[in-house]
């Protein structure tokens, strides 16, 4: 074959392939999802983090019973990687899954870009089935873009044997002042061998956000102005400062081998954490050690006796990217996974994903005693005052603000908390960084 002819054939082939790729690229709808009417059965793809992905896979048989014509492929994606991958797929207009799991604090960021399918028509009647604090975070410009999955009501997981050894009665701890006093008692009596709680310098923002909700404060006000300089935020910071200054905490991260190994010893007396942390403790604790230490749960201390004894940390949602070609199937999957009592309870009982779906809380199974925690009604404990937790005003640049806040707080803690007027300075700097206004005190 002459060379010229060979080149022509190869070029023609390359053009054909290229045109095919381009055509398929432009066939992807970028806006509203469409049904797959008339198409051959093609599985819908779901991206979820490790544990939730396991949970979704486990409940697939019951989904197939109700929807035998819908195939689902659940892909497990690490939460760190999922953000970048999801962003790139949305940006490219191709390659996103039909359903994706994201953190609730990121919903506004994606919703603002109109790359998520609008679920308002299908989902708005579920509004009263979720705590207002959670549902509001899924709504952008009056339209619904996500359905809440799990949430993180907080409590204190403690080792009753350690508390008893040092004469601390958990039932008498109602406020943060009493918690700090109990911590001092334990640390002093154990000569520092037992610390009250883990509280890492690099994770100060987690505790601060928890306290901020209890104090009724906000990072942004309803108009989107930076409001971290409010008196309520000052109250939260004051409690945090007293917790650090009391020298009762161990400077170790909440997720790491040091903290995991402490589950089986008396190195740390308790853990101020969201509900799902209980599952982690259960999984990482050897049976004999758990019995000896007598793990229990108590409600979160309040700012003052009689105050709010709950708060929320984290949570996740499912969203449907606008580029999906299987919108109807994707919605059926989301609805079955999250807006159904049995599904939500299956996620919770087997994988500790605490349902944001309120009807699940009314189920009798929520009243079952938990043998690991000495027969306590742990699930019920975390539902108390759940709907009183104030909603945090999320913005499209929430993640950026949260990172900045964490950096500022870790520096504040690492440098002896001596920054005068810390919150006012933080508000001004954060506002400048985000191109927003700060509220005046």
């Amino acid at each position: 074959m002459p060379t010229a002819q060979l080149i022509k054939i190869l070029l023609a082939g390359a053009l054909l392939v290229a045109s095919g790729v381009v055509a398929s690229r432009f066939d992807q709808p970028r806006s509203e999802g469409t049904s797959r009417s008339g198409q051959a059965s093609q599985p819908i793809v779901v991206w979820a983090w490790n544990t939730p992905a396991k949970s979704l896979r486990q409940f697939m048989p019951s989904f197939r019973v109700k929807h035998p014509d819908i195939d689902v492929r659940v892909e497990m994606i690490g939460s760190n990687m999922s953000r970048a991958r999801f962003l790139l797929a949305l940006s490219a207009g191709i390659g996103a899954p039909d359903v994706a799991m994201i953190e609730i604090q990121n919903v506004q960021q994606y919703a603002a870009t109109k790359t998520l399918a609008d679920l308002t028509e299908r989902a708005s009647h579920y509004a009263s089935s979720f705590p207002p604090a959670f549902w509001d975070n899924c709504v952008y410009d009056g339209r619904v873009y996500a359905i809440p999955w799990d949430m993180g009501p907080c409590g204190v997981f403690y080792k009753d044997a350690v508390f008893r050894r040092y004469g601390v009665d958990a039932a008498k701890i109602e406020s943060w002042d009493e918690f700090i006093a109990a911590g001092r008692k334990i640390v002093t009596a154990s000569s520092g061998q037992t610390r009250m709680l883990p509280l890492a310098t690099g994770e100060m923002s987690h505790m601060f956000e928890l306290l901020l909700q209890q104090a009724g404060g906000q990072i942004f006000d309803a108009e989107g102005r930076v409001a971290i300089n409010s008196p309520e935020a000052g109250v939260a910071l004051d409690v945090l400062q007293r917790l650090v200054e009391a020298d009762i905490s161990a400077n170790i991260a909440a997720h790491g081998f040091e903290v995991y190994s402490s589950f089986n010893t008396d190195a740390i007396a308790c853990y101020v954490m969201p509900v799902w942390y209980g599952g982690m403790i259960r999984d990482a604790t050897q049976a004999a050690a758990a019995r000896q230490l007598a793990w229990r749960v108590m409600r979160l201390p309040a700012m003052q006796p009689g105050g709010l004894r709950n708060s929320n940390r984290g949570g996740s949602v499912l969203v449907i990217p606008a580029q999906t070609q299987h919108f109807d199937d994707a919605w059926k999957f989301v609805e079955f996974a999250l807006c159904d009592v049995d599904s939500q309870l299956a996620h919770y009982q087997q994988f500790h994903l605490f349902p944001a779906f309120l009807p699940a809380h009314r189920d009798k199974r929520f009243d079952r005693p938990d043998q690991f925690f000495g027969g306590q009604h742990v699930s019920r404990l975390f539902t108390q005052q759940l709907e009183e937790i104030p909603a945090l005003n999320r913005t499209a640049d929430w993640l950026q603000a949260e990172h900045y806040l964490n950096r500022a707080l870790s520096r504040w803690a690492a440098t002896g908390m001596e920054a005068p007027d810390f919150l006012q300075t933080l508000a001004v700097r954060l506002a400048r960084r985000l191109g927003r206004e700060a509220t005046s005190r």
Binding site: T3, A4, L6, I7, L10, R83, A84, L87, L88, L90, S91, Q109, Y110, A112, T113, K114, T115, R195, A200, T201, G202, A250, N251, I252, G256, F257, E258, A267, D397, L399, Q400, H403, N406, R407, A408, S410, R411, W412, A413, A414, T415, R433
Partner: protein, 296 residues
């Protein structure tokens, strides 16, 4: 006429071009396109999802007032000063040791020195988090044994950078030593024999033969280490996440955060291009200096 002849030559040898075409096609798509697109992005405001907006030089102007950007540059410079000279000196000394005629088990030792740089960072992080642990770490145990107070290695504004520098040094010194060893083995033995015949001692041979001939290797290792420090990522995100505050935030992590946390792709491109230009100029200065030395 000449152009037509050249084109005829190209057509006659078209199959050769066809064979090398895959590389150029892949390079154009995965190499050139991102570089050029990123350059274009540096003049836009873009969050990766909505419409791009042309803003001219505003991103570059914003850099001047971005305190975290300047902090990350300062941290990168400090990390560079703490690691690069020490890495070069230690790498060279280890290479001399590994090259010594009297040394036994050379293969084993060379492998051992090289291992840290191919060990996954997650495994390294577990070990160093234990080493640096304020509560149970071996470093603080040693300090306490010596009657000194414990240090909060990774959680302290003063110690976070030196702690990272030590990990980086541990991880990359062996790699530098292996490169240096290759350089040492490339020096002809004749030079040393001639010098010995002329009565040159060990120090004179080192000063007049080894060090001058190792200069290209030192320069190569310096530029590699400079790039490695500027774009260091794994160590920082796993051990400190840039904290506390921004005390250990280096340029690599700052760039990642700007892109994939803040979704500011236009600004991140401007920052990346500015840094690339700076590193390019610095490398040029190093290489030019060497060229000047050779002429002289």
């Amino acid at each position: 006429m000449r152009a037509r002849r050249n084109w005829a030559d190209v057509r006659r040898h078209a199959h050769f071009y066809l064979f090398i075409a895959p590389f150029f096609l892949l390079f154009a798509v995965f190499g050139m396109y991102p570089v050029l697109f990123s350059f274009f992005l540096s003049f836009t405001k873009w969050n990766g999802l909505t419409e791009r907006r042309w803003i001219g030089l505003a991103n570059f102007a914003a850099m001047l007032h971005d305190e975290i950007f300047w902090t990350s540059l300062w941290n990168t410079a400090v990390l560079g000063v703490l690691t690069i000279p020490a890495m070069l000196v230690l790498g060279f000394l280890f290479a001399l040791g590994l090259n010594a005629g009297w040394l036994r088990a050379k293969g084993y030792l060379r492998t051992a020195f090289f291992l840290p740089c191919i060990t996954p960072m997650v495994a390294i992080a577990i070990v160093f988090l234990l080493v640096y642990s304020p509560e149970r770490g071996i470093l603080n145990w040693l300090l306490r044994s010596a009657g000194l107070g414990p240090l909060d290695w990774l959680n302290s504004v003063s110690w976070s950078k030196p702690s990272l520098a030590m990990v980086s040094l541990w991880r990359w010194t062996g790699y530098t030593a292996v490169l240096m060893l290759a350089g040492l083995q490339g020096i002809p033995k004749d030079y040393y024999e001639a010098a010995r015949l002329d009565g040159a001692g060990g120090f004179a041979r080192m000063w007049h033969i080894t060090l001058p001939l190792m200069r290209p290797m030192f320069i190569y290792c310096s530029i590699s280490a400079l790039l490695g420090t500027v774009f260091m990522f794994d160590e920082v995100i796993v051990l400190t996440e840039g904290g506390p505050g921004a005390s250990s935030l280096n340029f690599g992590l700052y760039l990642f955060n700007t892109s994939f946390v803040d979704f500011r792709f236009g600004y991140a491109s401007a920052v990346a291009y500015t840094m690339a230009a700076f590193v390019f100029l610095l490398s040029l200065v190093i290489v030019r200096r060497r060229r000047g030395d050779e002429n002289w």
